[in-house]
């Protein structure tokens, strides 16, 4: 089971937990990934709105490199956005010789679109891989109520992504059930989270996230599982903010941690929060998963505690309203970021964007 690996730009940044957890699960089930040499950004929606050619050329370049350096391997990518871009280019080239020539002229490389492109979710949902996963489970998730969230990019357009039923996909639900969770039935599985607009149209786009939480909560979800780093970041990062506005409106806040489906699979295999990157979430996510994998709440299985949630994120900081989701342990008291990160990191990182930006602006 070996794939040409397209990590996507978020793999070592905002999507680090996806990488960690997928590596963990992949290691347990013998998944081999060979990174495509010198792959580039897929261009995602920014390329699409800028130029049709660009939205084809960027993913096609990486696919052509895979074809050249890793012949015979199908391509696998964790990110649903990358998956959609790669599939789009592959689908276009497969439409005919004219289209293929057009793309090859753009990237100045041969590209025959012979390899298939799979999302990590599809890779893990294959029957034989699911069997492997099942064989590695130790604790299971003990009926944790999980809303499987697929978003748009995996399922639409159906003729390009060739994923499953675009209105009610099941593969992630089945994996969650396999890991001992209860996959709840809900209506926002494939509704858009507005990830591409969260920076440029924050006000309008937040509503999309809020609706997703609302439907998950209304259907009794304790957690949401994702298969896309953009979706996860979007939901995870904005939950606290949305809760603040809800409370301002006199509405109940949500308390639903968001997980990569690989994090939940990894936890059910006995992986620690740190190994899986669950300690890096914005909305506190460790306690719930710890409870889920423990036979009884008194005996936590996770052996190492990771980062504590930030004070601004924790619902405990706003005790006026009870969380809407099913009962869970009181969130841990807010604490400063623990020893895990180098002390200098915040300052350094905060400086980074500014210096890079200054340089970029100076260039133009």
């Amino acid at each position: 089971m070996k794939y040409a690996y397209f990590p996507g730009c978020s793999a070592n940044s905002t999507g680090i937990s996806f990488t960690l957890s997928a590596d963990y699960v992949g290691g347990r089930i013998g998944l081999e990934l060979e990174e495509i040499p010198d792959w580039c950004c897929c261009g995602t929606s920014a390329a699409l709105v800028t130029s049709a050619d660009l939205s084809l050329a960027l993913p096609a370049r990486s696919l052509a490199l895979a074809e050249q350096h890793l012949p015979g391997l199908d391509v696998a990518t964790p990110c649903a956005g990358c998956f959609a871009s790669l599939k789009g280019a592959q689908h276009y080239v497969r439409r005919g010789t004219e289209q293929r020539a057009h793309v090859e002229q753009l990237i100045e490389m041969p590209y025959a679109a012979t390899a298939e492109v799979y999302s990590f979710l599809e890779v893990m949902a294959q029957p034989e891989v699911s069997e492997q996963i099942a064989s590695q489970l130790t604790t299971g998730l003990n009926g944790l109520k999980v809303a499987s969230y697929y978003g748009c990019a995996l399922v639409r357009p159906a003729d390009v992504t060739q994923f499953e039923d675009p209105e009610n996909p099941q593969s992630m639900d089945r994996l969650m059930e396999l890991a001992g969770a209860e996959a709840i039935s809900w209506a926002y599985k494939t509704e858009c989270c507005g990830a591409s607009h969260q920076i440029s149209e924050p006000k309008g786009a937040r509503l999309l996230v809020e609706r997703i939480f609302a439907d998950a909560a209304a259907n009794g979800a304790e957690a949401i599982a994702c298969a896309c780093p953009l979706c996860l970041l979007n939901l995870d990062l904005r939950e606290a903010e949305i809760n603040a506005t809800r409370q301002a409106r006199g509405e109940q806040p949500f308390d639903i941690p968001i997980y990569y489906f690989t994090e939940l699979l990894g936890a059910a295999m006995g992986g620690s929060a740190k190994q899986l990157g669950i300690d890096r979430h914005f909305w506190p996510a460790e306690a719930l998963v710890q409870r889920a994998v423990s036979p009884s709440p008194a005996e936590p299985v996770l052996d190492d505690a990771g980062l504590k949630p930030d004070s601004a994120d924790a619902p405990a900081a706003a005790p006026t309203a009870a969380p809407m989701a099913a009962p869970m342990a009181t969130p841990e008291q807010p604490a400063e970021p623990a020893a895990e990160a180098p002390a200098a990191a915040p300052a350094e990182a905060a400086a980074t964007p500014a210096t890079a930006v200054a340089k970029e602006v100076a260039d133009e």
Binding site: S10, N12, T14, T50, L54, L58, P157, P353, A356
Partner: protein, 203 residues
């Protein structure tokens, strides 16, 4: 105020431009029977000046300039739920993309922030070959004037190892840069052709 639309005032150039949008999006506007299923399910409708159905109606009526100036294509999140559910198989999302590109070529940007964001994103790729979220967010704040947006999230991301001092980039930066430049130049040429006599159909 309700204004009278003078339908007979649509020029041949307008109609040609509408046809070019249809061709570029791979649709036939006459397929649309205005059922509104696209707009009923649109998650971003609350931010739009025209519903997607109404944008198509404008194009059906030859009201190209009004469609070109609409905010809707810039608000569209390209989730494609409209296209997926259209009973007539009209790719509404593709229409939105084609209109937005045509508007940009014509120098229109009804939604400034969205345009800035996507330009920076493409600039980021052009420069590094990969997307660096911190650079993206930081530059957006500078260029859009929303200086404080998400600033408090930066240290949190740093603590979590999501952003750091090292920028991601490809090895063969020139290749990606040339590729981006080639596509952008072609797009620019289309815009110039459009100005000098009707929108040309994109390849």
């Amino acid at each position: 105020m309700v204004q009278i639309l003078d339908l007979s005032a649509a020029t041949q150039a307008d109609l040609g431009s509408v046809a070019a949008i249809a061709k570029s999006a791979g649709v036939d506007f006459d397929d649309c029977y205005q059922c509104g299923k696209c707009s009923a399910g649109c998650p971003m409708a609350h931010e739009m000046d025209f519903l997607p159905r109404q944008v198509i109606r404008l194009l059906q009526l030859g009201q190209y300039q009004e469609a070109l100036g609409a905010h809707t294509p810039w608000v569209c999140a390209n989730c494609m739920v409209c296209s997926a559910r259209c009973p007539q198989g009209v790719d509404i999302a593709a229409i939105m993309l084609s209109l937005r590109r045509a508007a940009k070529r014509a120098g229109l940007r009804p939604e400034k922030e969205t345009d800035i964001f996507d330009d920076i994103f493409v600039g980021n790729i052009r420069r590094f070959g990969k997307s660096n979220e911190a650079v993206l967010a930081g530059m957006f704040n500078l260029k859009s004037g929303h200086l404080m947006q998400d600033v408090l999230n930066a240290p949190k991301m740093a603590v979590r190892g999501m952003i750091g001092p090292k920028l991601h980039s490809v090895h063969d930066k020139d290749a990606v840069r040339q590729l981006v430049d080639k596509c952008l130049a072609a797009e620019k040429a289309k815009g110039q052709a459009a100005q000098s006599g009707g929108e040309v159909s994109p390849s």
